[in-house]
C-alpha cells in the first residue's frame, strides 16, 4: 500500500460530509452504474443515493440485479472474472472504483453479511477476531478479547455464547450463525454494512431477532439490505429502492413506496401481481 493511499483514506474519513449533518448526508452515491456479466447487461444506468445512518432496502423480483448492485458497493464483484462495472460509485464523495482505492481498505469500511450464514470453520472467538487481526486493529490478548466481547454484544449474541467462545462457530444454530457473521462484520468497525438477504435461510424467530438487531445497528452504521420479503423491507427500512429487470424503477421513503408507489411496476410488485 502506498503512502498516497493512506493519506487519501484518512482524508476520506475526515471529509466534511462525515463530520457535519450526519442524518441527511448521502453516504454512498451511485451514478450511471452499468454492470455486465461477460456481454450480458445486468444493471442499467442505476442512480441511487444511500443515506447515512439509515436502513435502505433493495427489493425486486429474482434476477432483477439488486444483489449485483449491493456487491458493487464493496467491490465484491471483483472476485468474479467476467463481471465488469461502469459508472461511478462514491463513498463519502470518493470514487470507490478509482485506481487509488484498495479493496482491502474499502471492504474494511463497507462490511458484508451474506445470504447463507458462512461462519469460518474456526472457534467463535477466532471468527470475530479474524477481521481485526488481519487489519491490525487490535493486539492479541485483552485488547482483542474486548473487541470480541463488544462485537458479540452489539450483535446480541454475547449472552448466548460467552461461555463457549472456544467452540466452533459452525456448531451454532442458523440464526446464531448469522448474528455471528454480523458480529464478525462489526468487529472491523465498518461505516456501512451490506446485507444480502440475511434472513432468507432463517426461521421466523431468528428473523425477528436479526430485524431487531438491524434497527439497533442503524444508529452507528449505514445499512443496505437486499430482501425478497416486502414485510421485512417495510419493517426495517427507512428508504426503499425497487429494482426490476436491471433497472432501478423507484426509490423513496419506505412508507411512500408501500402506500403510494409512483410507478405501475412498483405497484404491481408490492401488491403481489408479479415477482
Amino acid at each position: 500500500m502506498s503512502m498516497d493511499n493512506i493519506t487519501l483514506t484518512t482524508a476520506i474519513r475526515q471529509s466534511p460530509a462525515v463530520r457535519g449533518m450526519p442524518n441527511i448526508s448521502n453516504k454512498i452515491t451511485a451514478r450511471d452504474v452499468n454492470v455486465y456479466y461477460a456481454t450480458k447487461r445486468a444493471l442499467k444506468e442505476i442512480n441511487l443515493d444511500i443515506e447515512e445512518h439509515r436502513v435502505t432496502a433493495l427489493i425486486g423480483p429474482s434476477g432483477c440485479g439488486k444483489s449485483t448492485f449491493l456487491r458493487c458497493l464493496n467491490r465484491m464483484n471483483d472476485t468474479i472474472d467476467i463481471c465488469r462495472v461502469e459508472g461511478q460509485i462514491a463513498l463519502d464523495g470518493q470514487d470507490i472504483y478509482a485506481r487509488v482505492i484498495d479493496t482491502v481498505q474499502l471492504r474494511a469500511r463497507v462490511g458484508m453479511v451474506f445470504q447463507k450464514p458462512n461462519p469460518f470453520p474456526k472457534s467463535i472467538y477466532d471468527n470475530i477476531a479474524y477481521g481485526p487481526r488481519i487489519h491490525g486493529l487490535a493486539q492479541r490478548g485483552p485488547e482483542m478479547d474486548e473487541v470480541v466481547r463488544s462485537s458479540l454484544e452489539r450483535a446480541g449474541l454475547w449472552g448466548e455464547v460467552k461461555d463457549r467462545l472456544k467452540e466452533p462457530g459452525t456448531g451454532l444454530s442458523g440464526g446464531q450463525q448469522q448474528r455471528l457473521c454480523i458480529a464478525r462484520a462489526i468487529a472491523v468497525s465498518p461505516e456501512v454494512i451490506l446485507m444480502d438477504e440475511p434472513c432468507s435461510a432463517l426461521d421466523p424467530i431468528a428473523t425477528a431477532h436479526i430485524e431487531e438487531l438491524i434497527d439497533e445497528l442503524r444508529t452507528s452504521y449505514t445499512i443496505v439490505i437486499v430482501t425478497h420479503n416486502m414485510q421485512q423491507a417495510a419493517r426495517v427500512s427507512q428508504k426503499t429502492a425497487f429494482f426490476h429487470l436491471g433497472e432501478m424503477v423507484e426509490c423513496n421513503d419506505t412508507e411512500e413506496i408501500f402506500t403510494n408507489p409512483r410507478d405501475e411496476r412498483t405497484q404491481g410488485y408490492i401488491t403481489g401481481r408479479y415477482g
Binding site: N74, M76, T79, D81, T103, V104, Q105, L106, R107, A108, G111, M112, V113, F114, K116, N118, P119, F120, P121, K122, Y130, G131, I134, H135, C181, R184, A185, V188
Partner: protein
C-alpha cells in the same frame, strides 16, 4: 478344442436367444408395447441368459471335475501292485500318466501298464469332451426353448435380468476381495514359517541385515530389519519434504490463482508426471540426479557416495508431486465459495484468505492426500533400487547409500529360489510389515478424507 467349440455354440445360441426372445415379445404385444411388463430387449436378454448361463455353469463344473474323475477311473484299471501306498509316489505316477497322455517324454522307458493307462486316459478324455459338447449344446437349446415359452405380457423379464446382473456384479467384486484375502493369507502363513526360524524380536529390532551370510544353522544376527525400516523412513521423509510443499503450493496456485485457461493446461501437464513409469524415474535418478548430487557434494567438500538416499528421495518426491497437488486441488476446490466471500468481505487479501480460511478448512483432505502419497512412497521400489543401492546401512545421512524394504524384497526374489531357506522366507516377513504399515496409513487417510466429506455435504 471341444471346449472352445462349445463356448462358440453357447455364444451363438445366446445371440439367437436374444433375437428370438425380443421378437417373440414384440409379436405377443401385437403392436401395443405398453401392455408388456418389460420392454422387448429385456425379454431378449432373459432368453439369452437361459440359453447361456446353465450351459456355462455345466462347462465350468465339468472342466474342474473331469480330470480327477478320469484319473480315478484309470487308476482303478491299473494292477493293484503298481499303485504305490506313498502319497508322493502316487502323485509321481499320476504325473507320468498325464505326461504320457499328452505325448511328453518322461525321459525313461515307461512301464507297459502305465502306457496303457495313458492311452486309456486319452480315450476317456475324448469321450468326455464329446459328451460335454453334446450335453452343453442340448442344455443351451433346452434353456432357450423353455425360456421362449415363458414369454408373455406379464413376464417380469426386467426384474429377473436385473437380478442376474446383480449376481454377476457381486461375483466380480468377490474376485477382487478373494484375491486380496488369498494374498494376505499366503503372506501370513509364509511369514509365520519365517518367524519360526528367525525370532520376531530379532527381526523387528535387530540392527544388522545380511541375509547372504545366513545359513540354516546360524541365522541369528543376520535378519535385523531395522536398517531397512530406517532406510525406507529416510527416503520417504526426503520424498515428502520435496513433494508436500511443492505439491501443495502448486495446488493452491491452480485452484486459487491460475486463470481458467492456465489451469486447463497446467493441471493435465502436472498429471502427466503421474503417468511416467517409475523405471524411467529410476534411471533419471540413477544417471542424472545421483551424479549431480555427488558432484555438488564434492564441490562443497562433502563425502557423497554415487548412490545416495538423497537422489532417490528427491526423484521420488517429484514423482509424488502430482498425487499431492491433484488431490489437494480437489479438496481446496471443495471448500465452499461462501467462506472465501466471507473472508474477502472482511477485507482480507487473497493470501490471507488462503492461509487463514481455505487451507485450514481443507486441511483434513490435504492430510488424507499426504497420507496416500506416503503409502505410495513406502511402496516404491524401482527408483530406490536404481539410485540408492542395496547396502543395508543403518544411517540417517542422506548422502549415504541405503536400501529399503521393497528393494530387499525385489533383490531377494530374483531367479530360482530354495523355498524353505530363511533368506527367501524373510521376504514374507518384510512384505507383511510393509502391508500392515501401508494398510494402517490408507485406513487413516480414508477415514480423514471421509470425515472431511461429511463436513460440507
Amino acid at each position: 478344442m471341444q471346449t472352445t467349440l462349445l463356448l462358440t455354440v453357447i455364444a451363438v445360441l445366446s445371440v439367437v436367444g436374444y433375437l428370438v426372445g425380443r421378437n417373440r415379445a414384440v409379436a405377443i404385444a401385437g403392436g401395443r408395447l405398453s401392455t408388456l411388463h418389460s420392454v422387448p430387449p429385456y425379454h431378449g436378454f432373459y432368453v439369452a441368459l437361459w440359453a447361456g448361463v446353465p450351459a456355462l455353469i455345466l462347462l465350468a463344473g465339468w472342466v474342474s471335475c473331469e480330470g480327477p474323475i478320469i484319473m480315478s477311473l484309470v487308476l482303478g484299471q491299473l494292477p493293484a501292485a503298481l499303485i504305490p501306498q506313498d502319497a508322493q509316489a502316487l502323485t509321481l505316477l499320476q504325473t507320468d500318466i498325464l505326461n504320457l497322455a499328452a505325448g511328453v517324454s518322461t525321459g525313461r522307458e515307461p512301464d507297459p501298464a502305465v502306457a496303457d493307462a495313458a492311452r486309456l486316459y486319452n480315450s476317456f478324455h475324448t469321450l468326455a469332451e464329446s459328451c460335454l459338447l453334446a450335453l452343453g449344446a442340448a442344455l443351451a437349446v433346452t434353456g432357450l426353448i423353455l425360456a421362449k415359452r415363458q414369454i408373455r405380457t406379464e413376464l417380469r423379464a426386467r426384474n429377473r435380468v436385473e437380478a442376474t446382473l446383480n449376481v454377476l456384479l457381486i461375483l466380480c467384486s468377490l474376485v477382487a476381495i478373494l484375491t486380496t484375502v488369498g494374498i494376505v493369507l499366503s503372506l501370513l502363513f509364509e511369514a509365520i514359517q519365517f518367524f519360526t526360524k528367525v525370532p520376531l524380536t530379532d527381526f523387528l529390532f535387530g540392527l544388522h541385515w545380511n541375509p547372504q551370510t545366513a545359513f540354516s544353522g546360524d541365522v541369528s544376527g543376520s535378519f535385523g530389519a531395522v536398517p531397512l525400516f530406517t532406510g525406507t523412513l529416510l527416503i520417504t521423509l526426503i520424498a515428502m519434504v520435496v513433494a508436500v510443499p511443492v505439491g501443495l503450493m502448486a495446488a493452491v496456485y491452480m485452484s486459487e490463482y491460475a486463470a481458467p485457461t492456465v489451469r486447463a493446461v497446467v493441471k493435465p501437464v502436472l498429471e502427466i508426471l503421474a503417468g511416467i513409469p517409475t523405471v524411467v524415474y529410476g534411471f533419471f535418478a540413477a544417471l542424472t540426479m545421483a551424479p549431480a548430487i555427488r558432484d555438488l557434494g564434492n564441490a562443497l567438500g562433502l563425502d557423497v557416495s554415487s548412490q545416495s538416499a538423497l537422489a532417490a528421495g528427491v526423484v521420488m518426491g517429484i514423482m509424488i508431486i502430482p498425487f499431492v497437488s491433484s488431490l489437494s486441488d480437489d479438496v481446496i476446490n471443495a471448500v465452499p465459495q461462501a467462506l472465501r466471500d466471507g473472508s474477502y468481505g472482511l477485507g482480507a487479501t487473497r493470501s490471507e484468505t488462503i492461509r487463514e480460511i481455505v487451507l485450514p478448512a481443507a486441511l483434513p483432505g490435504i492430510v488424507g492426500a499426504v497420507m496416500l502419497a506416503v503409502s505410495r512412497a513406502i511402496g516404491e521400489t524401482m527408483i530406490v533400487a536404481m539410485a540408492a543401492g542395496l547396502a543395508a546401512n543403518l544411517t540417517a545421512n542422506p548422502f549415504a547409500a541405503v536400501t529399503t524394504v521393497t528393494v530387499q524384497i525385489a533383490s531377494t526374489i530374483r531367479g530360482d529360489q530354495e523355498f524353505n531357506s530363511p533368506k527367501t522366507l524373510s521376504v514374507f516377513g518384510l512384505g507383511l510389515v510393509l502391508f500392515v504399515v501401508t494398510l494402517i496409513l490408507n485406513v487413516i487417510a480414508l477415514r480423514v478424507v471421509h470425515k472431511y466429506r461429511e463436513k460440507y455435504d
